[in-house]
């Protein structure tokens, strides 16, 4: 692992060179020899890892997808096939006697780098949660990634932070925990609404006079709207870090405006994008400038989600990750199912000047692209767009959408609870019109109670709210 101060200033060609070296090393020393899945795959597909000289050759390797790693019911240990084997005794080279003029002697791989230390899970939004194993080596990388994210966010130990990311044994919560501990800021690890509930989180924010809070976007909007109801103040709040769930710019704008409305000291909103399989999350220095990745940890490709063809700079596509420096669970060309609407940028960030590759635009979930039955054939429906519309509205407190099968066409039902004081009839009418204009499927907007909507979306029950419900097969 290289120093962040160096990497964040490294020109793009130097970063590429570093990644080429890391990739060939990772392939030859780890993936080809001690990775049960890839070792088998290379043999089966007759792939010689030595033919991969660098990033340019990556397309010679197959993708890995979620379905490859999820454990079938009868084989819970299947994900272990993606965990690097611990080096055996026979791989350890005996220490040579004498003095070396040329630095550390090669004594072979260190087994302690490869030994299991902790386990996190993927969020399990689209499939069964997958266990991701971490070794000590990986935890050190996670701590480093957390420290870098805080550097990019410009957080210091003077910033008291409320970590309201939902607790689960996952990378989201733990990266934030290690970041706060590492930097030495005063922090309350709340575990989110599921653990402490909204009132206690807001009370802590108020009584600790915390300037910073890390929280999921939907829950954040709800929190800021209910602040007054609970009688707490946001007068010391300066910034909100949004993460866990996909955070479109519409959510950033809405929350920024809400912060202003509730009398926050400042209304700075920043985003972090976590990928469980990447074993870390990446921060944006300011909204819209892209998620600053760690090029020495993970290689990012943006590919066409269907053909798999690698896209050019700035072109939208699916985020694909390859570990360059990891032990435990590791992946090669893992298709995340996330679409970066602004692709990948490798030129220096115009805002903070850091040179690391950035994932641009919003992140959309591929699983929210639906092919629905229309009157005249298949109709595409991008529910990510619906999320943006709903985030942008200042009169919506909570909502969800149901996709229902119908004849002759599938339909969309959007159920809404307006913010206190809203003319809900007007909200219903306006939303009905706007959604009808934007989406080419029949839309019905219904009003409902706070409790009913909160229960349906699993508020304070799931890691994040489930707002898009595909009911066609139920």
């Amino acid at each position: 692992m290289q120093a962040w101060s160096k990497i964040s200033k490294m020109p793009a060609p130097a970063i590429r060179k570093m990644q080429n070296e890391q990739l060939t090393k990772m392939l030859s020393e780890d993936l080809a020899v001690r990775h049960p899945h890839y070792r088998e795959l290379f043999k089966e597909k007759n792939i010689n890892p030595a033919d991969i000289k660098g990033v340019e050759d990556l397309d010679k390797l197959p993708f890995t997808e979620k379905k490859d790693i999820v454990a079938p019911e009868d084989n819970p240990e299947h994900p272990k096939k993606f965990v690097l084997d611990v080096p055996g005794e026979d791989e350890l080279k005996p220490k040579k006697k004498g003095f070396s003029l040329f630095g550390k002697k090669d004594t072979g791989p260190d087994p302690s780098d490869y030994s299991f230390f902790t386990l996190y899970f993927t969020a399990g939004r689209t499939d069964k949660p997958v266990p991701i194993e971490y070794t000590h080596y990986d935890l050190n990388n996670l701590k480093e990634a957390g420290a870098r994210a805080f550097d990019i966010l410009d957080l210091s130990r003077d910033d008291t932070l409320i970590n309201a990311f939902t607790y689960a044994p996952n990378v989201y919560f733990w990266q934030m925990f290690y970041s706060t501990i590492g930097i030495g800021s005063t922090a309350l690890q709340t575990g989110g609404g599921k653990v402490l509930g909204m009132e206690k989180i807001l009370k802590a924010m108020d009584s600790m006079e915390a300037p910073a809070m890390a929280i999921a976007p939907g829950y954040c909007r709800f929190a800021l709207h209910t602040l007054e109801h609970f009688g707490f103040s946001a007068e010391n709040l300066e910034r909100i870090i949004l993460g866990i769930d996909y955070t479109p710019m519409e959510a950033v704008d809405r929350i920024s405006k809400l912060m202003e409305a509730v009398g926050a000291k400042e209304n700075r909103v920043q985003r972090i994008y976590f990928i469980s399989e990447a074993k870390s999350g990446w921060a944006e220095c300011a909204p819209g400038f892209g998620y600053h990745t760690n090029p020495d940890h993970v290689l990012i490709e943006i590919v066409d989600p269907d053909s798999g063809e690698v896209k050019g700079e700035g072109e939208p596509g699916e985020v694909v990750i390859t570990h360059l420096d990891a032990k435990g669970t590791t992946f090669l060309r893992y298709k995340t199912g996330d679409i970066a609407t602004g692709g990948l940028a490798t030129e220096p960030c115009p805002n903070c000047k850091r040179t690391v590759p950035r994932i641009m635009g919003d992140i959309e979930r591929k699983s929210l692209y639906f092919d629905l039955k229309g009157k005249d054939g298949t109709v595409s429906f991008n529910a990510n767009e619906l999320r943006k519309v709903m985030f942008a509205r200042e009169d919506v407190l909570l909502w969800y959408a149901e996709i229902n099968s119908g004849d002759p066409e599938d339909t969309l039902k959007v159920v809404v609870k307006g913010v206190s004081g809203t003319d809900e009839q007007a909200l219903q009418k306006d939303l009905q019109e706007k959604l009808h204009d934007q989406f080419s499927i029949p839309v019905a907007v219904e009003l409902s109670s706070l409790d009913a909507v909160a229960n349906t979306i699993g508020m304070e029950k799931f890691i994040t709210e489930q707002t898009i419900l595909d009911k066609r097969n139920s």
């Binding site: 454990a71 819970p76 240990e77 994900p79 272990k80 030994s115 299991f116 230390f117 902790t118 386990l119 899970f121 949660p129 266990p131 130990r157 607790y167 689960a168 044994p169 706060t180 501990i181 030495g184 800021s185 005063t186 922090a187 309350l188 690890q189 709340t190 575990g191 599921k194 653990v195 402490l196 206690k200 009584s207």
Partner: protein
């Protein structure tokens, strides 16, 4: 902080001398200077801090009670006054020094930040008062890590083990003590957050995936979890040890847990107990044994335990029953002196070396009647009788025919002025003779709690599990007081 290996072999005389020395320094250099509450309190009570020469002088210090520190609506920030922190004047001085020094300034500031700056917070869980925050500085985190490593050392858990932490996630001691223990002792682990966070099925899957050797649980949830696992035919044969926190583990429950593990393929599992309290910021291990109780091993360089007569406040002798009074030693962040825990050590304290493991550190009896989790019900008046509801726990948890249970107190006709009623909801094992168990329990409840049950209502296991909030609450609701107030 002392070396544990050395400390656990130190003769008690030397331990006491060390505690005297540490107490003197702690009171004079930290508490008196930097604890706003005690600074004020000592002045108010005209106590000269420099006259506290050691443990024997502790009695000159006033007791601290829960209500002294718990926030109230009128004083929500009360707990902050118990946080050891240099006041602004002192900080200014250090800041000035830092600026002045060309060489050591930065290091000095870092040292002060390490010592005093709060970085981590736990809350108490009591339902009688608002949750009270207890803060840790980075220095304190080293203490909680070290205490965790000691706990694992006593339990003979090593870096060859894999621990699954099933304590519910919350900003509470139990979960975090287990996490920091693993971190310090280099023991691999899965910190699940419990059934509420990951779900019981996923937790079972994790057991089978990881093949852990050690599991850490709250007793009530563990019993439920294992029964479900048996029903599903799971394989937990890798488990060698299990340790509990939160409640005392009665012998009957130990046996039930061992039996269930045996059905899951794990023979002769060692059932271990811990005793901890938010106010002390650490937890202590019970000396491991299959069938004897040797008490909890304390950390004499981190705290002083006294056992006192709860009425008179006078210390009781070695091995005599008394209330546990806790005094922090060499902590930063929140620190309390002579804190009245309300917990009763039935067998008192011991200072001679442990007959089981030979460690010389002081021990507190395994038989502790905990007040902290149930204090609001501890001595509740039901039907005009002062009822010790703690006694339901060993009785119900140890009963071989009971699967799940819950006690509910009501008022007849829901009228606050009418008679008290006490109902017991029971889910029993298949084939249990219900008439027999009713007779048996009515008699035993009367004997142990001095109150007669209004009725025993039989329900299915899922019904009682749901009433308990087993997978939705941080801690299951064993005793409900649904009596309306007049």
């Amino acid at each position: 902080m002392e070396n544990w290996d050395k400390l656990s072999k130190m003769p008690y005389k030397e331990i006491k001398e060390m505690q005297d020395r540490k107490l003197r320094a702690f009171i004079a250099n930290q508490i008196y200077l930097y604890s706003p509450y005690y600074k004020e309190r000592l002045k108010e009570e005209n106590i000269d801090p420099f006259k506290i020469k050691g443990i024997d002088d502790l009695r000159h210090l006033p007791f601290t009670y829960k209500w002294d520190i718990a926030p109230t609506d009128e004083e929500p920030q009360k707990a902050k006054d118990f946080v050891i922190r240099p006041d602004e004047e002192v900080s200014e001085k250090y800041g000035h020094l830092a600026k002045m020094s060309m060489t050591g300034g930065k290091a000095m500031v870092e040292e002060k930040v390490f010592d005093f700056k709060p970085v981590h917070i736990h809350f108490t869980t009591g339902r009688t008062a608002l949750p009270t925050p207890f803060v840790y500085s980075k220095r304190d985190l080293e203490n909680i890590r070290e205490s965790g490593a000691r706990l694992l050392n006593v339990f003979e858990v090593t870096s060859d083990d894999i621990v699954v932490n099933c304590f519910p996630f919350a900003p509470h001691l139990a979960f975090w003590q287990t996490f920091f223990a693993g971190e310090k002792a280099n023991v691999a682990g899965f910190h699940s957050g419990g059934g509420k966070i990951v779900g019981t099925k996923n937790l079972m899957d994790a057991f089978e995936y990881l093949r852990p050797t050690v599991a850490v649980f709250i007793p009530g949830y563990c019993y439920y979890f294992l029964r479900e696992a048996v029903k599903q035919g799971r394989d937990f044969s890798s488990i060698k040890k299990i340790f509990f926190g939160g409640e005392r583990v009665p012998p009957g429950l130990k046996e039930k847990i061992k039996e269930l593990f045996a059905q899951l393929g794990a023979e002769n599992v060692m059932v271990l107990a811990t005793y901890g309290m938010t106010e002390a910021k650490v937890a202590w291990p019970e000396c491991p044994s299959h069938d004897e109780y040797y008490g909890y091993h304390l950390y004499p360089d981190m705290e002083i335990f006294e056992t006192i007569d709860p009425e008179s406040g006078e210390p009781v002798g070695e091995g005599e029953e008394g209330e546990i009074v806790y005094t922090a030693l060499d902590w930063r962040g929140t620190a309390v002196l002579r804190y009245r825990t309300g917990d009763i050590a039935k067998g008192g304290m011991f200072f001679e070396p442990c007959p089981n493991c030979g460690r010389t550190v002081p021990r507190i009896s395994s038989n502790i009647q905990r007040k902290s989790e149930l204090k609001e019900f501890n001595m509740t008046k039901v039907k005009g009788t002062l009822v010790n509801l703690n006694n339901f726990f060993p009785l119900m948890m140890s009963h071989p025919d009971i699967e799940e249970w819950q006690v509910e107190m009501r008022k007849r006709n829901d009228d606050p002025f009418d008679l008290d009623e006490i109902y017991l909801y029971l889910a029993v094992k298949e084939g249990t003779d219900k008439d027999k168990i009713v007779g048996d329990l009515k008699q035993k409840v009367l004997r142990d709690t001095e109150v007669s049950l209004t009725d025993i209502i039989f329900k299915s296991v899922p019904e009682v599990v749901s009433q308990l909030g087993m997978e939705t609450e941080l801690k299951e609701k064993r005793i409900l007081d649904n009596r309306p107030t007049g």
